[in-house]
Symmetry: C2
Subunit: 343 residues, 2 copies
């Protein structure tokens, strides 16, 4: 590999990320690498407009987590949240009622919607919101993957009008939250991704990175949609930085339920090695330099290494920030090994 | 007077109304005339868009009061209200912070804004919201004075850029709520009123009324703006029903503070007889058949009667629903006298 080697301690770390898992990992990363400048490329394909308000679940989860306002146990939404507005909306019979729209959270959506309506792109709105949450002071930038509209739809089967079944596409939030990913996902489509442009700073961040870490986010509907924005996958392939990924699958099941449903939709088994193969080793045109599997998946290590990807088995569960920091340490360690002996 | 006499107990009562005072009077009226069909023509010139949400303070006060959801002591806003969203908006530095935007109340604005954005006129939105509050079951219809945008602006003096003072117009809510009506009001302008059309049902309601009651609402920024919609004043003049008004001024001061500021702006003294003269007796092209002054203003009775308006002095304060019902009884009584012996 001819790419220049990163400095001993990577300063500029770029993390393409989904919501809960990515956010938890990032909290650990900030603890493990307090001096790093971390640029998060946030998935926006889960975004949805409800009650006329623009909601960006992954950006919000990242912002609240890194800003210290997250409901820690739940992993999403605000701490000390109340649901007065949601209850009143239900009293009006105004739907949908399946989305967890908290009062504190709502203020974010109101400010975002007003700024978007005033003509600001999502990236500037996100910067403004994150400034309020003090992210810059913590050395973190949060960049939406795109300012354009990309929306993940899931094709499911449902009862047809004249008996039998027919397929229809539902918004990812409806599939995930309302339907709890119970229906079989026949297809996952990132609507709008083909014409979307990378958000401001995204390509530059990847090009200037010392290290790229992919947290254990969903490989289809989080990382997959980020990679579906034309230019981002190529920038990841072209980055001089090492690309190290933490497996989102442990012991044959996704860390945070239901990812297997969307993996099945794209024909990928829910195993660490299958997802590693999905990303692919860099030498064969894929993305990976390194891959961390869970200690329970040590059997996968030789299979992944056969893809030309340096692999190690470490604990990959994040019950608390200490475990997340240990995972980040392990990822930084694997990256340092790659510096010495690239895969 | 050639107009047909109303039935002994008026069935169809029409009440053009502002917010708090009008709503309190209407609660009394529903108690005093439980069999009546009451049509309220609500002032919409106080309406304002804040945080991208359409807020109709007078319609909401009327709806919450008549639907049983009002904060009774305060007179506006929801009972058991919380202010979580407002506090979070303030944390974002999102202004303005002077408007009392409660969480429960917010749900109304969200539903309204979404329906307006979907293309429904305000009158249909109002009907939908009021249905949810059970107003029809209580024999009440709430009609916005217009579906068009009318906005009361108050011209005040403020510090100019280069020293000295200059005049500028502020939205009525800003004048009333933020500035607490402290600056001198040089002019009150109902922007848009000249081209507004009466809301659906408004003219028909006035034409088909058995009795029109004007509650002690602000004669300038509540009743005055309703009358400023072309066609409404004429319909009030032409109605076969008696028009009886309850004085909004007691003992030389408005019942609910600050109305004197906007009365001064139009050159009218804050006395019961001056406001009666502003409305005018029907015989001389005005609106009034009857006028109730407070018991403390008994001196005004002969002055008002000299305008050709039947006048009586009764207690006009509404500390509770019983007093409001007594006022409504008095108004119905004066109207019944007019039936026997029109002024």
């Amino acid at each position: 590999v001819d790419a220049p080697l990163p400095a001993a301690r990577p300063r500029r770390i770029v993390v393409p990320s989904g919501g809960i898992g990515g956010a938890r990992f990032l909290r650990g990363l900030l603890a493990a690498a307090p001096d790093a400048e971390v640029t998060v490329i946030g998935n926006t394909a889960d975004d949805i407009t409800l009650f006329g308000l623009r909601i960006c679940p992954d950006l919000d989860t990242l912002m609240y987590t890194l800003g210290g306002g997250i409901h820690v146990e739940q992993g999403w939404g605000r701490d000390q949240e109340t649901y007065v507005v949601k209850s009143e909306l239900a009293a009006y019979g105004a739907g949908p009622d399946w989305f967890g729209l908290g009062d504190r959270d709502l203020a974010t959506h109101i400010v975002r919607t007003q700024m978007l309506d005033a003509g600001y792109p999502l990236s500037e709105v996100t910067t403004a919101l994150c400034t309020s949450w003090g992210l810059a002071a913590r050395g973190v930038r949060l960049l939406p993957m795109t300012d354009d509209r990309v929306e993940t739809h899931v094709v499911i089967e449902s009862a047809g009008r004249e008996g039998g079944t027919s397929r229809r596409a539902v918004h990812f939030q409806e599939y995930w939250v309302r339907l709890r990913a119970e229906p079989v996902a026949h297809e996952v489509v990132a609507v709008g991704a083909d014409t979307a442009r990378p958000g401001p700073g995204v390509i530059d961040a990847l090009a200037g990175a010392d290290l790229v870490l992919l947290p254990p986010s969903n490989p289809v509907v989080s990382i997959g949609t980020i990679l579906a924005v034309p230019g981002i996958r190529d920038a990841l392939r072209a980055t001089p930085a090492r690309v190290v990924v933490l497996s989102p699958v442990i012991g044959g099941a996704p860390v945070r339920g239901m990812a297997d449903k969307v993996l099945a939709a794209i024909g990928v088994a829910s195993t660490a090695e299958a997802v590693a193969a999905l990303y692919g080793g860099r030498e064969s045109g894929g993305l990976l330099d390194g891959w961390l599997v869970d200690e329970h998946d040590a059997d996968a290590v030789p299979v992944v290494e056969a893809l030309g990807v340096r692999c190690a088995a470490v604990p990959l569960l994040m019950p608390d920030q200490e475990h997340a920091a240990a995972m980040a340490h392990a990822a930084l360690g694997l990256a340092a090994e790659l510096k010495v002996a690239p895969a």
